[in-house]
């Protein structure tokens, strides 16, 4: 196995020059923005980008603007050397690791915002809409710096991916946004950089989140739930057994995130809960049987 050479670049002019040189030589560019702490969910995105593009840029930037709690920002895991190694092994050609002041100079005053149901429900209701303002602003900056053909996001952060797709479309940012399936451990736990902060007992308890989503999905698929409320109740029951109170457990339209009013079409089941002091999110997409749902109404 040949070792790939990963270049680490910390400034905007240098990465722009490097990408311009690669483009001049005919390369296409894929981009995976991350906050570091890379796990198999990230590396799956990098591997896909490497299959589809000549140059793969992975950004590693813990964005202060999208944390609503200073404590959460402080505790966010950071290990640049390990991240660069993991990105390279997955096929990255360039790691972009800017400082906070490289992205936000002293008199930085701009922001990108998405308003409406897409940012006001779920994480927006729970963490405040400012979380998405911070995310949208830094993703805009990174997309504009890298100028990739395609940028890759994980489906685990379903709402984040939808918000990115919306402002990229609205503001006509010339990069295609692709969402890739959530990567899970064998026992179902969705991979997250935050999982590293779980104790063994906490990790066991956290399995109830994916199990609860699956319980709600099953209730929809097998027709035992006749309404979004009934399907949610099946999930919430499963969480209760594990001693977990969800921040939210919601069945929603997978594109607008508005609460589903009936069980038909494709539905997103989304959950957030704090387990063992660690806030976790997960979601599933399920196809409701329209005829059965209609018959049950």
């Amino acid at each position: 196995m040949t070792e790939r050479i990963v270049q680490t670049i910390r400034t905007v002019p240098l990465i722009r020059d490097e990408i311009a040189a690669r483009r001049a030589a005919g390369a296409t560019v894929g981009f995976v923005p991350t906050m570091g702490a890379l796990h198999a969910g990230h590396t799956a995105l990098v591997e896909r980008a490497a299959r589809e593009h000549d140059v793969v840029v992975v950004s590693i930037f813990v964005n202060p603007a999208q944390f609503n709690r200073a404590e959460d920002l402080e505790q966010y895991p950071r290990d640049e050397a390990a991240d660069v190694k993991a990105a390279g092994a997955a096929g990255a050609t360039i790691c972009f690791t800017p400082s906070v002041t490289e992205i936000y100079p002293a008199d930085f005053a701009s922001s990108v915002q998405v308003r409406g149901p897409l940012t006001e429900t779920l994480e927006g209701q729970d963490r405040g809409v400012g979380h998405f303002d911070g995310m949208a602003t830094v993703v805009t900056i990174l997309l504009n710096i890298v100028g990739a053909d395609v940028a890759y996001f994980g489906a685990k952060d379903a709402q984040q991916a939808l918000v990115v797709q919306r402002f990229v479309r609205d503001l006509r940012i010339p990069t295609e946004i692709v969402t890739s399936a959530t990567v899970r451990d064998q026992d179902g736990l969705a991979l997250s950089s935050r999982n590293a902060r779980l104790t063994a007992d906490g990790r066991e308890q956290a399995l109830a989140i994916s199990a609860a989503l699956q319980a709600a999905a099953n209730a929809i698929s097998n027709g035992s739930a006749d309404s979004p409320e009934a399907a949610s109740a099946a999930g919430i029951d499963r969480l209760r057994v594990a001693g977990i109170t969800a921040d939210y457990f919601m069945i929603a339209d997978p594109l607008t995130l508005e609460p589903a009013s009936q069980l038909s079409g494709t539905l997103l089941i989304a959950c957030a809960a704090t387990v063992d002091g660690v806030r976790l999110i997960d979601n599933l997409t399920v196809s409701a049987n329209r005829e059965a749902a209609t018959a049950n109404c």
Copy 2:
């Protein structure tokens, strides 16, 4: 004189294809965003863009999002055929004339904002900061659609040009922003699409605006004013003689727009006033004699 062929394009995919084809053939691209009603101020920008680039795109789009009064939006002059002709005569190669729904589809939900003194003073205080949100959002969209090397803005809208420079820098939009000098009629009136709405008497009265700016600039240059307040008073006096009460008359830092605390360095003198029912703005930049100013303190 050879007549230039101006292409009129109304949709985003078509203009992107056209620009991509020109770029593939090695062309550089200059861009002049306008709200139509082209006058010699606009055509001076187009002429400069044509001197500096192979392809010159002029957008003509009256942006509903940056009008704070429905009446002002409705009264804004529109004559596309005349505008396309004027743009072509000045050297434009492509006129981009999208519909409102082409720019803002039904579920449009995004915005670009600049906060701080730059948007909160002058026009921001007077018309509301939403005016700049609307402007910043549409300029971001247009810059992303056209992907020009350089975009040209007029110095008459000094605050607008500064806001554009700020979010383009902050969000790393890869287009250079150039500000070109205000074009004036021989009697000093700054060209504006709104001038067409002035009666003959109103136009005569409006001359007091540029005269007032010049009076304040003279008071600074010749040392008769020993403070920003004294210089402003010279300008406001000149307006009062003409029966005009300014919405604002301010001496400010030309980069941050914060009120000048002393007469030193380069200063921006900015004024807005409603004359004959038409709201007009204008500004001048003046270099204060630091030694004289210091001696007078």
